[in-house]
Symmetry: C2
Subunit: 474 residues, 2 copies
């Protein structure tokens, strides 16, 4: 098995090596599209299950809206069409005939959903609608990267309708909290959270909330967004309801989503030069048991011991016995290391004599001989330690990656030399925001709720200014 | 709430009434497409979970292949392009530009998947590949019907690759068994199973296996198909592997799928003039507890009792307390009846005095006063009885709906008068098959494995002939 490129040599190639050699994804024959292979998809399925449970626990239901949207729908919301029309895939023919009106493949579903909400919402009694869908979307991309940016990607998109602005804003913030919890507790990926600046918000939103993570190369990654849409889409699609006072009012809305790019974020947060490192909660396999089989020997005893070790875990821990006889134990070690399985349990003839196994941690490489009888009791605790350890390490990296700069010059220097989140004073104007992003390729990642006045803007020198984190983003 | 149309008056309208009024689905603004609303989607999610577990238990992994397929790929398999090209939605523009080659939205994914399999398969060691994906597909349809036939639908499509013909054939039959088990044990929908005739098989398959169900109106419905594809797609995409003897050989394949049309089949199998009837195993809510609240009264005691009744079920039974105070108890009864919830539990002030509840079955309408303390123990048994009872009833209907005819005249008469599956002798020729379908709109649904010679063909009068079931299909 060829070695993967080291991070220090070529970070981008290291990422691609991991994704392709761990068989998480592959390039599709269609430009900009990817194939998600079973190992990558199993991680996405674990993410889906965890998020879906959280959405349902907070009263949301899943549903499904059409893939194809009449082109004219997109045009009904001015910012929205400007943001998305240039990225659309357009269907002009169906069933062998030219269509009367072209259809676009959804780049996001606000327009088709609000066209339906108009049918379903008449009164305050019909509200709120708390809907989510798991779906594919297409946004034509020129420069793509497996998981992180592809023309087609998988995501969930929540679309809710509310009777009051307050309720909708609370919903948008509640979802941001869910994204943050998921990111921290499942992905072991700490994030910054807050509102997007005017220049970075979703086309059609009044307010966009975001979670932002720091990758190992100092670039930052937008991991999830939740939008307070105000009455913009209700007005675009004329969705009014009779409120409790009997008056007609436009409906308030939110939308929010995370996508398969989270799989890419996961890779970049924890992995090392030996391959993928997975937090146990999202690992398709948490423990792999590898019997050390010898060619031309009687392996029955070792094999039986391997199954005996795996058996008591039951449904609580995802265990696999790698009993293949056409690859060597060393090959298996490498493969499961590359695939990021948190714990490897080795059993050889000498271990069997001593009634022990060797437990090997993927995160630290530490090997611990452990009595066979004790292993099933010890593993859950070790898995927790690994989950917590990955979070701790990522958090330390995030904390070390947040720096302050006061002048534009020191800002540019820090951005070029170390990257990460550079907190710098900004006056709040679109002009200064745009100038920084044009000149440095760094954008304002969010405006913290807690940002306080701190002198003058590093760009225009005018005050008051707030300290906001900039970063170069994936 | 307006009454739904009776089956005896207009069966088609009855079906549409149930699907739309039970809020399972609605018409989308795009021709031929539907919106799957939360109640319909929750049923589909239950179906997905059950099937997905069965696929994984038999060694299959999920993955995801692109939505967009180069038009030229479709043309590589002759039967396949002939079958699907006329139904395709075609993307001609992306990112604001005319594409060099048009893309089609997948009508099914054999071609894109076998293009990838070529990259992944070199040796017998790489086989088998047992992959499945849950995805949306588009097949342009002129005459659509919610769930049963829509231009876009959701499905799962399995695509497997094998080293031998025998193994692939066993896989195709194993999946047919899974579909049959799912249909019978989860949907309570008995089916006939067997091979499709030459005229009815999948474009590109050597053999298509099918399960076929009987609806209440005497029409039949193809509920799932599993295809043995032989080496057709391996040859079309030049996918060869080195076998154990070191020789190059084309790979053997299967593909198989069931779709959201199963939700339509479920509606048509069990429902009645009062609305949807759901088998408990697929019901999003198995038990609804309805406290009989009075306007302008202190309802605290009743409400508390309702929650107390629901509490002990835990995670084993899906229970909902309908505590809304803006609709009447009678309105709730109707709504949950319409939505097909298997058991309703009513609690009124008099019940509370007697420490009892009233258990009402959706399938029989039977009301049983039950001591409050006993309800949580009794419900699981009643749910099983309902599941079994629905299966028994559907099976009796299927058995009564299978008839024999010996002459073409008696065949046509039976088809016009009662429908169902009419078993009639057929010589095996495509000519006779086509003539029957043109003249009677009935098609050969399958060729039973057990079909024995039975005299002469009802069409051409030649022998030998086998008795095969014909039906008019959705």
């Amino acid at each position: 098995m060829a070695k993967i490129t080291k991070r220090s040599e070529d970070y981008s190639q290291w990422y691609i090596d991991i994704v392709t050699r761990a068989e998480m994804a592959d390039y599709a024959p269609v430009k900009g599209c990817m194939v998600i292979r079973p190992w990558g998809y199993a991680i996405w399925e674990r993410m889906q299950r965890a998020l879906d449970d959280m959405f349902k626990d907070t009263g949301h239901s899943n549903c499904y809206f059409p893939l194809m949207i009449p082109q004219s729908f997109l045009a009904k919301e001015a910012e929205h069409v400007e943001g998305f029309a240039p990225e659309c895939a357009v269907i002009t023919h169906g069933g062998g005939k030219l269509l009367d009106e072209p259809l676009v493949i959804r780049p996001t579903s606000e327009t088709i959903i609000w066209a339906m909400y108009k049918k379903w919402i008449q009164s305050w009694r019909d509200l709120p609608l708390l809907y989510n869908q798991w779906a594919n979307v297409v946004r034509w991309e020129m420069r793509t990267r497996l998981f992180l940016r592809t023309s087609e990607f998988l995501w969930q998109e929540g679309h809710t309708a509310h009777a009051t602005s307050k309720e909708a804003m609370e919903e948008a913030e509640r979802i941001l909290g869910i994204y943050r919890t998921f990111s921290e507790q499942w992905m072991a990926m700490p994030v910054l959270s807050g509102r997007k600046s005017e220049g970075q918000k979703f086309p059609g939103a009044d307010t966009t909330f975001t979670i932002e993570a720091l990758m190992q190369d100092g670039k930052v990654l937008q991991a999830g967004t939740s939008h307070y849409l105000g009455q913009n889409f209700a007005k675009a699609f004329d969705v009014q309801f009779q409120n409790r006072d009997g008056q007609l009012e436009y409906v308030y809305a939110t939308s929010w989503g995370v996508s398969t790019r989270l799989v890419g974020a996961l890779v970049m947060t924890h992995s090392d030069d030996a391959g993928l490192v997975l937090p146990p909660k999202l690992a398709p396999v948490e423990v792999v048991v590898i019997p050390i089989l010898k060619a031309d020997a009687d392996n029955a005893g070792i094999l039986a011991a391997a199954y005996r070790v795996a058996e008591p875990f039951g449904d609580d821990v995802r265990v696999r016995v790698d009993d293949r006889d056409n690859v060597s134990p060393g090959w298996k070690f490498n493969e499961w290391e590359l695939k990021g399985v948190p714990i490897r349990i080795e059993i050889g003839p000498k271990d069997l004599e001593k009634q022990q196994v060797v437990l090997v941690r993927r995160d630290t490489g530490k090997k611990t001989p452990t009595p066979m009888d004790a292993i099933s009791f010890q593993v859950p605790g070790v898995l927790e330690e690994i989950q917590d350890g990955l979070m701790k390490k990522a958090k330390e990296r995030l904390e070390a990656g947040c720096r302050a700069a006061d002048t534009y010059e020191s800002f540019q220097k820090a951005m070029d030399e170390v990257g990460g989140f550079i907190y710098a004073p900004w006056c709040g104007s679109r002009e200064c925001e745009d100038r920084v992003s044009e000149e440095t390729k760094a954008t304002i990642r969010l405006v913290p709720d807690t940002a306080e006045d701190c002198g003058v803007c590093m760009v225009c020198g005018k005050g008051p200014a707030k300290r906001v984190p900039f970063g170069r983003a994936y």
